[in-house]
Each structure stands twice: as structure tokens, then as C-alpha cells.
Subunit: 402 residues, 2 copies
């Protein structure tokens, strides 16, 4: 299934806009709207952090199966840990959008990302809403501007489009995401918005999103930290001529595959654009005794600063990979463990192999490196995307707030 160029407005009936309203000190775009011109079914997954941003808490509350019209997301300020005003500010943001487009405030979800513990400048937000609602547009460019305005330390835009055929008709899915630091599994890990013109009932959409997120957005780690504002939402407005997607049909399988393809694409972009990253690291474990063991190993290897700095230094230090697997908490037999860097085997049965260092250098020089761990304990696999750990990660994060 192919990833096409395009933006969040690619499916029928979606408008978007991104503007600069003054929340970011540097004057960069910081307020995004994604709106469906008709009611849409919406599903969402949210951070499992005990501490949650106010805009996110509001979205969790409003996501009760009733139709929605869109979402407003600001960057530059997380709207988190500011007390009761945080929730009322989120309500005000949503109400302003609802007023402008003519819908109930509960039909507008809210998201925020940025610095924690500072109150939103509501004058800026409201003037941004006025400006953005006036400009709302179905063009591809408007979608690109929407993506731009949710980015924080991101260096590259994370967007993609997938098309499938169902009942002789085209269904389009589009997605955009932000996320570069504070990225780790088991919270929805970033802000992601997907749109589709498919017709699908909310419970099925929610179940699919949860499954897909588990294998994509929740399999990205940049630094082991996870934010209080992480959310992934998908809006389905049924504007395609294709019949409604029914559970258990080939169309449902195809639609979920399209969502997986799109989410995988966005997840890999997040890992590749990890703060300070110079390489995408694709970590694969096969042959684990249980799914949990496979997961623990990809997680520990993908989180290890020692593995990540070795990849940055293009050093074939497989001992650190085996060591991370060893402390992961997974039950496995080290004596059955083979490790590959790309196609080069560097460790057999848990022991050193004499390998060609110049071959290893070739693999490690690439901007995408696969670390593959083959166990002999069972039939379970897992996979996680991360990045290397460079000087720039420290630079970016040493003075983020001030």
C-alpha cells in the first residue's frame, strides 16, 4: 500500500488552517484547525500519564461517541498544570471555534503542546481562532499550514495520504503528526490527527485506532520521556460514496491496513525526526517466548542511551544491545541470541563473532539502521522505531523553557 503526498485535507469534506497567533516567541505558526464540513465520527487515544494537560482532559471528556466537527490545537504552550483556568481556557478555545463555524462547542475537540505550567495567552488564541476560521480551506496547502502550526521542536513535516477502493469507490485517509522529543510508548506518544471520508461507526473506528496505535504510534521512542498532552484522533465524515465499513468484512481489513500504513509512516517520521537524531533505528525482535518478552526487549534496546550513542558514533557495539536485552526484564536465553546490524551478523549464540569491521561501518553509515535480535525461545516478534542520540539532543533540551 502506497503513501501518497498530500495533507490532512485530502479526504472529501475536510478543511484546515494553521496560523501564527503569538504563542510561540519566535513568531512561528502555533494554532491549527482541522474541520469537517459535516458531522464526523471520531475516535481517540490519549496519554496514560497521571498528569494530563487541560486541553487533553477536555477532549477525553467530550469523546463520548457523539459526532464532532473538528479539533483546535495550539503549540507553544501545553495548557497543563495551571489550575482550574486551564480547563476553562480549553472550553473557551472550543467555543470560539464552534461559534465561528456554527456548531455546538462539544463538537470541537482541543489539544495543546508546548511548555508546561504557563497559562495560555487567551487574547492570542482568540485572535488566532478568528483568523484561522476565516481562512479555513480544503486546499492541500491549507493542510500543510495546519501541520506546520502543531510542530514544536520538529524539523520535518509529518504528513501522508493513503487511498483504497471499496465498493467501486475511493476512500481516502490522511494524517499529520507532531513529535520529536518526550516520545515513548504506552502513552499515545505525540499529537496525531487523521482524517478520512470513510463511513464507519464510532465503536469500530475506536477499536481499529486502538489496535493500530498499539503497533505504530506506541512503538516509537525518542528519549523514554512521555508528555502530558499526547493524543491521536481520527475523524471519519462519511463523505466518500463507498458503503459503510462493517466489522469483519474485507473492507474493514483493508481500511485498517490503510490506517496502519499511514500510522507507520507517521511513526517512522517521528523517530527519524527525534530531537538531535541523525539516523532512524529500526529495532526488531523475533523468536521471543511471549509477546511481552519481545516488547520488553525492543523497549529496553530502543531506550538505551548507550545503544543510541553507539549508533550515533557508528560503533558496532553489539555488547550494549545484548546488555540492554539482558536487563529488559524479558525472560530469554542469552545463549540462543543472535544479533544483526542490517544484514551483518555480529553476535551468535550470545557470543562475539569475528565480523568485518568495514562491513559494519557501511551498515552504520546509513541514515537508517536495523538492529535485529533473533532468539530461540518461541514465535513472538515485536518492532520499535527510535533514533540515535547526538550532541544536539542535549543542546535542544538544555534550555527549552527559557
Amino acid at each position: 500500500m502506497e503513501i501518497l503526498k498530500g495533507s490532512i485535507t485530502a479526504p472529501e469534506g475536510f478543511l484546515a488552517e494553521g496560523v501564527a497567533c503569538g504563542l510561540k516567541k519566535n513568531g512561528q505558526p502555533d494554532l491549527t484547525l482541522v474541520i469537517s464540513d459535516t458531522d464526523a465520527t471520531v475516535a481517540g487515544v490519549f496519554t496514560t500519564n497521571k498528569v494530563k494537560g487541560h486541553s487533553l482532559v477536555r477532549s477525553m471528556e467530550k469523546l463520548n461517541g457523539t459526532p464532532k466537527r473538528g479539533i483546535i490545537i495550539n503549540s507553544g504552550n501545553a495548557n497543563a498544570c495551571v489550575g482550574d483556568e486551564g480547563l476553562s481556557d480549553a472550553d473557551t478555545m472550543a467555543a470560539a471555534v464552534a461559534h465561528a463555524i456554527g456548531c455546538h462547542p462539544d463538537a470541537i475537540l482541543t489539544g495543546s503542546t508546548g511548555v508546561i505550567g504557563k497559562r495560555l495567552d487567551m487574547n492570542a488564541v482568540l485572535s488566532g481562532v478568528t483568523q484561522a476560521t476565516r481562512l479555513l480551506d480544503t486546499s492541500e496547502e491549507a493542510g500543510h499550514r495546519a501541520e506546520k502550526a502543531i510542530m514544536t521542536t520538529d524539523l520535518i513535516a509529518k504528513e501522508g495520504v493513503v487511498r483504497i477502493q471499496a465498493g467501486g469507490q475511493t476512500i481516502t485517509l490522511a494524517g499529520m503528526a507532531k513529535g520529536s522529543g518526550m516520545i515513548h510508548p504506552n502513552m499515545a506518544t505525540m499529537i496525531g490527527v487523521m482524517t478520512t471520508d470513510a463511513r464507519i461507526a464510532q465503536p469500530l473506528l475506536q477499536q481499529m485506532l486502538r489496535d493500530v496505535t498499539g503497533r505504530t504510534f506506541n512503538r516509537v521512542s525518542v528519549d523514554g520521556d512521555t508528555s502530558v498532552c499526547d493524543m491521536v484522533v481520527i475523524m471519519a465524515n462519511g463523505r466518500s460514496q463507498a458503503p459503510e465499513i462493517q466489522p469483519g468484512t474485507p473492507e474493514a481489513t483493508l481500511f485498517q491496513e490503510a490506517m496502519t500504513t499511514l500510522a507507520t509512516h507517521l511513526s517512522r517520521l517521528i523517530a527519524r525526526d527525534g530531537e538531535g537524531a541523525t539516523k532512524l533505528i529500526d529495532i526488531v525482535v523475533n523468536g521471543a517466548a511471549t509477546p511481552e518478552d519481545a516488547y520488553k526487549i525492543v523497549l529496553a534496546v530502543g531506550r538505551s542511551p548507550l545503544v543510541k550513542t553507539a549508533m550515533f558514533g557508528e560503533d558496532a557495539n553489539w555488547g550494549r544491545i545484548l546488555t540492554a536485552a539482558g536487563y529488559s526484564g524479558a525472560d530469554f536465553d542469552p545463549a540462543g541470541c543472535d544479533i544483526y546490524l542490517g544484514s551483518l551478523k555480529v553476535c551468535a549464540h550470545g557470543n562475539a563473532l569475528l565480523f568485518d569491521e568495514s562491513e559494519a561501518k557501511k551498515v552504520l553509515k546509513k541514515d537508517e539502521i536495523q538492529i535485529r535480535i533473533e532468539l530461540q525461545d518461541g514465535g513472538f516478534s515485536d518492532r520499535l522505531w527510535t533514533c540515535d542520540f547526538s550532541y544536539d539532543y542535549v543542546k535542544i533540551n538544555g534550555s527549552y523553557r527559557t
Copy 2:
């Protein structure tokens, strides 16, 4: 209780030496002996990593309650993941020492630290043993040389001496440690050797060491990685004139307090000397509902690259501290959470406080920073030492092996 200057040879009847035998490419000292001139009771705690170095596995096997005479430790090579020869190399090291000092090989423990997956150069090791056994000495300087020869990326020596009075006699404890990267709790986390001239039965010594390690060596994190060679051992040779330490007596309490003081000192030095560290970070949690919750929070905050880079950048980014607590898995009420940097309160009831940024700068400029998290969920506390995360961590670890 005061930490005195001195080295591992401070207690009666201990000899030590450290020499350069050629395992380290740069010619630095890399082979250490610590020997008791009479039989000693020995206790040890070892890494919980599934992957274990061969020298460490041998020590675990030999630590069966029988008396020991000493330990040989090499640096520059972990003697790990090299197959069956690894264990026989460890046996050979021990046998060479035993032959030179006249004891059974099983009375000599073994430790190794350094690069994983390369076989030990046994010619170098054996010539080092010949040299070191010839030079073995009770002088303070010999002890300092022993410390020097277990260091890898360590920049400062980690040594200390504590003295207590029991039955009108002096008991001396001394310790040395190495550890700078691959440091994280729940494995014995580094190589530490303590000596004492106390007389004490093995089971009591083992129980005390386990308790003390739990609150000291296992409360240090540099990078969340843990090695396959971590061990802490203590040798007690009974050469002091003080009576044997009996369980449940004031002397036992005093002795354990001395061990705790010494181990705390060494643990703080390890955190302060963390790879690339510019600051020691002391993380304290009070008011947690359970000990596990307190532990989870200090662990998550102490491991967070975002917290650690903020400390490097002297940025009072308390939002990252609260966020790390939030994803730690601990059950706590964020609305009851206060956060202090030094004595400056920066977050009250989980929300932002207007604090004096110049006061914050003063706290953050210091080379030791306390992060204190006050909860209102119960009466449990925990504490962990870590360091900030700097450019140099990446530099040191980007090309360690090659």
C-alpha cells in the same frame, strides 16, 4: 559519622596493588588485587542482568560462605560474551593469584569491567598478576593504585574510610568503587569493594550488605543502562581486636551504619562522576502512599533525559519533573504534589507557582542540586542520586569500543 581519607588497605591485614598489564590500549593501570593476609568472610551482591560476565559468574559460584583471601579485578575488558573460554580465563586468573600468595583458587574472587565480546589477553593478565602479587602492599598508596586500576571512564577516584568503636576497640571499614556509565538501580550497578577488619559471620554480613546496597549503590542512576559485570563485595577478616559482631546488638547497628555511610559516600561519587556529568542531582520523594510508589518516582525522574538535560542547562523546568512522576507508574495525586529545587518551591498542588527566576538560577548554578517532590498520599520516602546529561555523555559513548 565521618568519611576519612584513605584507601582500601586502611583496615588491618589488607594488601592491595594496581598495575598496568596492557589490557587498556592507552597503557593506563588495568589490573587490581585486594588481598587479606588471613581468611576473610565475604559477602557479595551481583547484577540481575540476564547476561552476565564470565568473571562475575565465577564469583557468584564461589561465594558459597567459605572463607576467601581476596579478589582480582581487571579493567579494559569485561570478559563477557566470549564463550566457554571466558570462564576458564577467569579460573586461570584466580589460580595465578592463588599460586602466588599460597591459597586455594576458590579463595580468590574475580571481576572484570570494560568492553564486551573480546577475549581477555591472558598473557597480559598473567604478567600483570606476577607483577601485582610481587608489589602487594599495606600502604595507603598501594590502595590508591588498586582503585586507579579498576577505573574505566571514571574521572575521579572513589574511595573512603570509616572508623567506629566497639568494645573499646577500633573497627575500620574502607571502600573503593568504579562506575561512571551503564549505571542504574536494581543490579548491583558498578564494581565496589569494601574491606573491614571486623569479625562477623557470613550470613549477617551478607544480609547487611544486601540492605545497605538497596539504599545506596542501588539508588544511583547515570543513564538507565546497567552492565553485565556489576558487583559489590565486602571482605571482613576479623583482624580488629573488637569482639565478633552479633546480630541485633548496638554494635551491629553501628557497623551497618558505618557501611551505609561508606556506601552512600561512594554512591554519591559515582553519580557526581557520571559520564559527562557537571552536577550531582539528589532526588528525594516524601509523602508517597507506598515504598514502591516512592521508588518508581525517584527512578523515573532520575532516569529522564529531559530532566537531566534541563539540569545541565540550568533550566527550572519543573514541568518535566512532574511529567516524569506522572509516567512513572506510581499511584499518586498530582493535585497534592509540591516540587522544590533546593529550598525554592517551584510547583504547588501540581500547578505552576510564580517563582523568582533569579533565585532558581542561583540554585541551579550549584554543582549539587536537590529535586524534592512532596506528595500528600502517605508516609513513604525514597532517594536517588543521578547527574545531569551533557554533550560529553554523547561524546564519551559515541565511540567507546573503537
